[in-house]
């Protein structure tokens, strides 16, 4: 009985964790290239979820396609925030101003969504939520299977893109040394734009898949982003492997805390872990050779 519960919660934790990984990867990609934080990343998650919701309910599209729509919406938002906020502020060279500006964007987006969508949570149900596979006393919904498959595919594609394509190599070059990469004929501005588009597209699509789990209100992203911050720091800011590992750990912590302690304690446990990590090893589980913030 207990083993079943432990296994069941392990599966739930991995499903949730892989979604957190998608969101946190975006943050870590941007940090890796630009050493900047886009605070509105959370609201891209929320808006991705709403885009998927309205695509299904107003247009009548299927759930799988709605994930693609959320991906596209996220990509567009990523392009926009880079053009409107990060590009103009890069010339000022202050490390904290873009973070502060995107907090403003986040507050703006949340309140615009509040004015349009209202404060009442939306019920986001898909036809896959209720279809369940039973296996040795463990329940797995098709929704979870879709989440796992899409997340693994996305992460694998991203990994292959970074490792094997020219653009991916150029991206890593810009992350290591923007000026030298520029001298090698790489256009850093184009690659930074590309990073924002990819990162935000991941957030949007993460939103479409998180929506059935979350209480979908205009402020839904906030609870996700605080965990995503915890994940990127626990994993090592700017480090992709560390982020994946930490994301799964946080997902598991969340499912086990819900089962054995109290759901109200999730954020406390996750952040206690974050603060302990900052105290002991601020560079994260897998540290990047980047020391300027510590």
């Amino acid at each position: 009985m207990t083993t079943t519960i432990v296994l069941q919660q392990a599966i739930n934790g991995v499903v949730l964790g892989s979604l957190y990984v998608l969101v946190a990867l975006g943050l870590t990609l941007i940090y890796g290239v630009l050493v900047q934080i886009n605070f509105a990343h959370a609201d891209f998650v929320t808006l991705g979820a709403f885009a998927a919701y309205f695509f299904m309910h107003l247009v009548g599209g299927g759930y799988i396609l709605s994930i693609a729509v959320a991906f596209a919406v996220g990509a567009a938002l990523g392009w926009l925030i880079n053009a409107a906020i990060f590009t103009p502020l890069r010339r000022k060279g202050n490390e904290l101003l873009p973070l502060i500006a995107t907090i403003g964007v986040s507050v703006m987006m949340q309140n615009l969504m509040l004015a349009w969508f209202g404060p009442i949570p939306y019920a986001f149900e898909t036809q896959y939520s209720s279809e369940v596979i039973r296996f040795a006393g463990i329940f797995v919904s098709w929704q979870s299977v879709i989440i796992i498959i899409v997340s693994i595919l996305t992460i694998a594609l991203l990994y292959a893109f970074m490792k094997f394509t020219f653009l991916g190599k150029a991206l890593r070059a810009v992350a290591q040394d923007r000026e030298t990469a520029g001298l090698m004929g790489i256009n850093p501005n184009y690659l930074i734009m590309l990073t924002f588009v990819i990162a935000s597209a991941l957030a949007g699509m993460g939103g479409a898949m998180l929506a059935p789990v979350l209480v979908l209100t205009p402020f839904a992203g906030t609870s996700v982003i605080v965990k995503a911050f915890a994940i990127v720091i626990i994993g090592g800011f700017g480090n992709v492997e560390g982020t994946i590992l930490a994301g799964l750990i946080v997902g598991l912590i969340e499912s086990y805390t819900t089962q054995f302690l109290d759901p109200g304690l999730i954020d406390i446990v996750v952040f206690a872990l974050l603060l302990v990590m900052l105290a002991i090893k601020p560079t994260g589980l897998i540290s990047e050779r980047r020391e300027e913030n510590v």
Partner: protein, 337 residues
Amino acid sequence: MSDPALAQPLPGQRATLRSRWLAYALAIAVIVILPFVFTDTYWRTNLTVCAINVLLAIGLDFILGYAGQLNLGHSAFYGLGAYVSTLLIVKLGIPFWIAFVAGVAFAGIAGTFLSLFAVRLRGHYLAIASLGFAVIVHQILLNWISLTQGPLGIYGIAPPPAIIIGGVVIADFRNLAAFFYLVAGFAFLSYILLNQLVRSPIGETLTAIREDEVSAASLGINGAAWKVFAFGVGSAVAGAAGCFYASFVGTLVPDAFFVSEAFNILAMVIVGGMGTLIGPVFGAILLTVLPEVLRGFGDLRLVVYGAALTFVVLFMPGGLAQAARVVAEKLGLRRSA
């Protein structure tokens, strides 16, 4: 001090000193007059909310604008001040002013503790650590139901006891104007205190650390200690604001101290102009009054905070303080620096 010229303040300095006292006198006059101008309950309530927000903004500005630490968890110290003082009064029956001191001290100690721990961290890491701290505090307030009554909140918190001297009621804080004088007076004193601090060698030390910690350290400045000091002072001021808030509103719910409150305070500091003390005062007043004036727009009015924050950072990073300087120079009231 053999040279008499050195002992005397320079003419320019004397002039700024005189204009500073003139400004203080003007501020007192404005505080005294305001409740006579705004006589209805609604605006008198807003006056006190303004004063509370001014306290929050100057406290955060001391941490952010002078010590250069991006604190995204100011709401936590505000909430700790409010809850600690209120719980002492409600659960233990401790007199208001003793609970007030305890609330301020607790918030200050919490800030000191957080920054002691975060002193190795800079920039983004400190921002996230302080945000994490605010999330934890909010969650504790929400989940420690036996102590805080969680989301149900604490109701019927009494205002501070009336000041009675020799049987004569000097100030009854059930009166909105009296409460405003109390908070505004405290905010004014805090402002003077912080202003003296930032104009003293301590202020110069903090600025030196903010601009270049390594160079400051080479001059023998202990950067870590001063940053902890600034964080402690700033959070203690937020704690005071929390004590006043609880006894003014009479109700405490954890959601009043959600991280979004920290962002609102940040907006006040940025819009006013971080690194100046007078800027955030006006930033706080503007961002308290503006959403009230825009009440007809419903929830859309809250967009003001975000829009103000973003556009000020993009187009006028020095905020209202910078705008005022530009206007003064254009009008020829002040020589360009």
